[in-house]
Symmetry: C2
Subunit: 262 residues, 2 copies
């Protein structure tokens, strides 16, 4: 705590909550949490066990500010902090660090993980993607991040944007695939949980080798009889059919080469 | 072994290999494994530690046959077994059990898992989807399956077909999403492994609650500014852009309702 001074967190969403809790787990009590909506401040303060404020006075007394609000609100918050002397970071995957560049010392502290207010996650292997506009502050930020995770990665705005886009595919879109799988099973009275061993093994295998080496299934095998049957089964679900077809075509086109070409 | 008699396995692919190894782990030595290609039989026999044969004589001496060949070859194999008196099952997710109905006693033994010859998997939670054309044989098959897994599910051809189609979405297509994510990271010199904590947490969360409740990201939030940026970033990759757009539209259309509507 002393080392990094007084830490203020701005925001009361999933990421702000998780960060406050993770800090407290390490014995670092945030100096205050800023909650824009006055009517919610008391509740947030109580839930987090941190002093919650709705004006910037106390925030400006801190040494280090973590802005953890919706992407679109970051610049509004930054406008309040122009004369601030400490380090200010945001936690966004997409917004460039430069959205904060009217503040003297700025950076990014982006935890690459999906977070919910009420869900505890293992934080020690969560990649923390950090950036700061001076080498000294980057060193400080790195030390801070390493309190929480073994997986601290310094990366620039371009890299972080690519990581965020990649995360949409590997996290959001894989989730959609589970959603469609669930829907198809429900129609036959079956629970999605029967898929868990398959999904987990496929994920492990994909990370151990390479995704394309782990791929199996009718499209990978070029088994057009099965593909035709699947398309027939999906004919009453045009949206899911369209997704089936575009992904099957993608595999057929990109993957069905000899191993050397892959 | 005695209880189920002599067991013959037909095939030398990933599933046949895994099943032979799983049986041996439980002290059940397959009576023989049938390998169509004479030139490969010796090698397969040696690798599996099971007698490998290339004619049906020894297979027909068995009490129970597991056909584990390509979907398209199942009926050819079945034609060789018309007068067989024991139980014959295939291991296909898509082919109906009736592809074996010229044999008196037939069924299905479909392990819902992705398998590779050289990869050990935990088999005890793999769903084994079974079916037999008589109640007695179904009971026998169930007892056999329960030797290997705590997760034996009796299901008919229609259910199994739906499960297989669902598996294409939750396993093959999620794999494709990891492949695209990997490609995007590689371009910035980053390894896919940084995504593992995120992906695993998202999967756990999706199975614990419901996929649609676990979904986050720009499409779910209706964050069209970020979506627009992502589309710009993908503009030089038309195939990946098309996938991004169709899945983003799908989320926007199906998910962006109030919680009650979900």
């Amino acid at each position: 705590m002393l080392q990094f001074g007084k830490i203020a967190v701005i925001g009361a969403g999933n990421v702000a909550y998780t960060l406050c809790n993770v800090m407290k787990d390490k014995g670092i009590n945030p100096y205050c949490v800023f909650v824009r909506d006055k009517n919610k401040a008391a509740q947030v303060g109580e839930e987090l066990g941190v002093e919650a404020v709705s004006d910037y006075k106390k925030v400006l007394e801190s040494d280090f500010i973590i802005i953890s609000v919706n992407d679109d609100s970051i610049s509004d918050v930054a406008a309040q902090l122009i004369d601030y002397k400490g380090i200010v970071v945001h936690t966004s995957g997409t917004k460039p660090s430069t959205v904060l560049n009217k503040i003297a010392r700025f950076g990014v502290f982006y935890p690459l993980q999906t977070m919910s207010k009420n869900r505890k996650i293992r934080f020690d292997d969560v990649p923390l993607l950090i950036f700061a506009n001076t080498e000294d502050d980057l060193a400080t930020l790195k030390e801070f991040a390493e309190l929480f995770s073994n997986n601290v990665i310094v990366c620039d705005d371009e890299q972080r944007k690519a990581i965020h886009l990649s995360a949409v595919f590997v996290s959001n879109f894989t989730n959609v695939m589970l959603g469609i799988g669930d829907k198809l099973l429900k129609e036959k009275g079956l629970p999605l949980t029967i898929m868990k061993p398959l999904v987990m093994e496929m994920m492990e295998k994909s990370f151990e080798t390479l995704p394309q080496k782990a791929l199996t299934g009718p499209a990978r095998r070029g088994d057009f009889a099965t593909i035709g049957e699947h398309e027939k089964m999906l004919s009453y679900k045009p949206d899911e059919l369209a997704i089936y077809m575009i992904l099957t075509d993608y595999i057929t086109e990109k993957y069905n080469k000899t191993d050397e070409e892959l």
